[in-house]
């Protein structure tokens, strides 16, 4: 179904998405939104993998599997991150990174 | 092993109680002709209202437009929440004797609690409970009624 | 316990109590000062053990305000009516018995709400049915021309 769309288009999309994620990660102060920025970054990487796989090496499925594994890792990462965030919230009443400056609680 | 046995037994017992409940509802579902619903506006002709049902206070008039109310006001006193107001007038009969008579027997249907105390207290049986219940109105003032009909007179022979 | 024995027992506890057998129950009027101690004794005395507080009523007796406590013993099955008066109509205070019978907390709140009797040592004395700025409707001198339509 890709028709005449060149590979570069996919890469441009993923680049934009990647750097939006970076920007979010740098400017956000809230742990959850930072987590969401990371998800954006991971997702853009996935697009790259899949696009390379489909356009350059369709004879095997390496990119596809890499994406699968990245998704699985992302899920694990989100689960642990959110557990930590909830715990931080319980102790600090805030999920703002600036306010979570002491490691002892 | 025992634990597994209990686990399975628990599940099966639970399912059995659920099925018992479902049997009850199913019994009624599959006998829909046994429904107990009365279709009110359609069944107005056959609707059974008990003889003693207290739907409203009425004052029966006979064919000569006469009633039994003397205007004594006992019902007004006995009414716990003032649903009845008696307005009397003084009649002068042929012999020149002054006699108290009912002018307006005002009945606030919207306030009445149908406690039957006025009927019980009425010495002449002038008021009784009617069974009509379709009183809903759009305007609350319509619920204030005058029970004695215009131009009605007291029946002969009714003593106070 | 028979009525006579009950009267004797109560007079033993509180000499100043005016105890007599009423038409139905034994009734006793206790002076305000020793009221709480009296209630505590009749609850804890094993021969009396009035552990069930049926009902608490406030009555406006024109010159005094009166609290009436209906008590029953679930073990001995006898009943007692305890009355206590307070002559002060502006700031009437009666000791609370909520520490003895938790249920009285709410009956007392009701009496506070409707009659304006406050209870000392009450854990949570607030208006119950009515707003804070409402009068005390069950007092005989209560007037409310706005809300009440008199007959």
């Amino acid at each position: 179904m890709t028709g005449t769309i060149p590979l570069q288009y996919f890469l441009i999309i993923s680049t934009l998405m990647f750097f939006t994620g970076i920007y979010g990660f740098l400017t956000r102060r809230n742990l959850i939104t930072m987590l969401m920025s990371i998800e954006l970054i991971l997702n853009s990487v996935n697009i790259n993998f899949v696009a390379f796989n489909r356009f350059l090496y369709p004879e095997n499925l390496h990119g596809h599997f890499f994406s699968l594994i990245v998704i699985a890792v992302a899920a694990a990462e989100a689960a642990v991150a959110i557990a930590i965030i909830i715990n931080i919230y319980r102790n600090f009443r805030s999920i703002d990174v600036d306010k979570v400056d002491e490691m002892k609680f | 092993m025992k634990a597994i046995y209990n686990y399975i037994k628990e599940i099966l017992q639970g399912i059995w109680t659920l099925l018992t409940g479902m049997r009850v509802t199913a019994k009624y579902f599959f006998t829909p002709w046994k429904h107990v619903t009365q279709q009110y506006p359609e069944n107005r002709d056959t609707l059974k209202i008990a003889d003693r049902f207290r739907g409203e206070v009425i004052m029966p008039h006979n064919e000569n437009n006469e009633h039994k109310c003397t205007g004594c006001g006992i019902c007004e006193i006995n009414c716990p929440n003032g649903s009845i107001e008696i307005i009397t007038k003084t009649l002068v009969n042929e012999e020149g004797k002054k006699k108290r008579a009912i002018d307006q027997h005002i009945y606030h249907l919207g306030m009445c609690t149908f406690c039957n105390l006025c009927i019980k207290a009425c010495p002449t049986g002038a008021i009784v409970m009617g069974q009509r219940f379709e009183h809903a109105v759009w305007d609350r003032t319509l619920l204030t009624k005058v029970l004695n009909q215009p131009g009605s007179k007291i029946m002969e022979g009714v003593k106070e | 316990m028979t009525n006579e024995a009950l009267i004797a027992a109560i007079t033993g506890i509180e000499a100043e109590a005016n105890t007599l057998a009423g038409p139905q129950f034994v009734e006793t009027t206790v002076p305000l000062a020793g009221f709480h101690a009296f209630m505590k004794k009749i609850k804890e005395d094993p021969a009396l053990s009035f552990d069930y507080l049926i009902c608490v009523t406030g009555v406006d007796r024109a010159e005094t305000l009166q609290m009436v406590y209906h008590l029953e013993s679930t073990t001995h099955k006898h009943l007692l009516v305890v009355k206590v008066h307070t002559a002060d109509r502006t700031t009437p205070v009666v000791p609370s018995v909520a520490d003895l019978w938790p249920t009285s907390e709410f009956h007392e709140r009701e009496a506070y709400d409707l009659l304006g009797i406050s209870f000392s040592n009450h854990p949570d004395l607030r208006r119950m049915f009515l707003d804070d700025n409402w009068g005390y409707p069950l007092r005989k001198d209560y007037k409310d021309d706005i809300h009440i339509v008199s007959r």
Binding site: M1, T2, G3, T4, I5, L7, Q8, Y9, F10, L11, I12, T15, L16, M17, F18, F19, T20, G21, I22, Y23, G24, L26, T27, R28, R29, N30, I32, M36, E39, L40, N43, N46, V50, R54, F55, L56, P58, E59, L61, H62, H64, F65, I69, I71, A72, A74, A75, A76, A78, A79, V80, I82, A83, I84, I86, N87, Y89, I95, D96, D98 | - | -
Partner: protein, 175 residues
């Protein structure tokens, strides 16, 4: 022609919503924008004929991670809260860095000539994916698969332990 329209729709959504994700000050809205980004990405995968991957993307990302994130937002923030952003200087610097990085990458991508597509194509149907996932020969992924399963298990246990409440007091007055 059709696929181009679809592609531009999806990529437009991706770009717009990812920018909204990182700029929205309402956290839950940001999460919803992220959901849109992820669903659009799944759309791209469908376009590329990787149906299985797209479905995984929907299940895990949209149905799993976003639900998790929304849950944690529900637990930790109130509707009237607005997320705090970085200061103006830091924001400006971040934006500059991002734009510079993006420009550099884009130039590289556009300049680089990618090799030609190979002719043979491996259909990405469920059968092939399943075979590859559990085989241990050349194109097999048994090892990564197992590693990821262990990772997931570890993450699950870790998450449970981290999030567990210390005091389980006040649990029924009389039991």
């Amino acid at each position: 022609m059709n696929s181009e329209i679809l592609f531009f729709m999806l990529s437009g959504m991706i770009v717009i919503f990812s920018i909204l994700t990182v700029t929205s000050r309402r956290i839950l809205r940001a999460a919803v924008y992220l959901l849109f980004v992820l669903v659009s990405t799944a759309g791209l995968y469908f376009m590329l004929n990787y149906n299985f991957l797209a479905a995984v993307q929907l299940t895990v990302y949209a149905g799993g991670i976003i639900v998790l994130i929304i849950f944690s937002i529900l637990l930790t923030s109130h509707i009237s809260e607005r997320a705090e952003m970085a200061g103006r200087f830091q924001g400006l610097m971040s934006a500059l860095a991002t734009v510079a990085g993006a420009a550099l990458t884009l130039i590289t991508i556009l300049k680089y000539s990618f090799p030609e597509k190979s002719v043979t194509e491996m259909p990405s149907d469920v059968k092939n994916i399943g075979r590859a996932l559990v085989s241990y020969n050349e194109n097999g992924y048994a090892l990564p698969f197992e590693v990821v399963s262990i990772l997931l298990l570890a993450a699950m246990i870790g998450a449970i332990i981290v999030a567990r409440k210390e005091n389980m007091a006040a649990k029924g007055n009389k039991k």
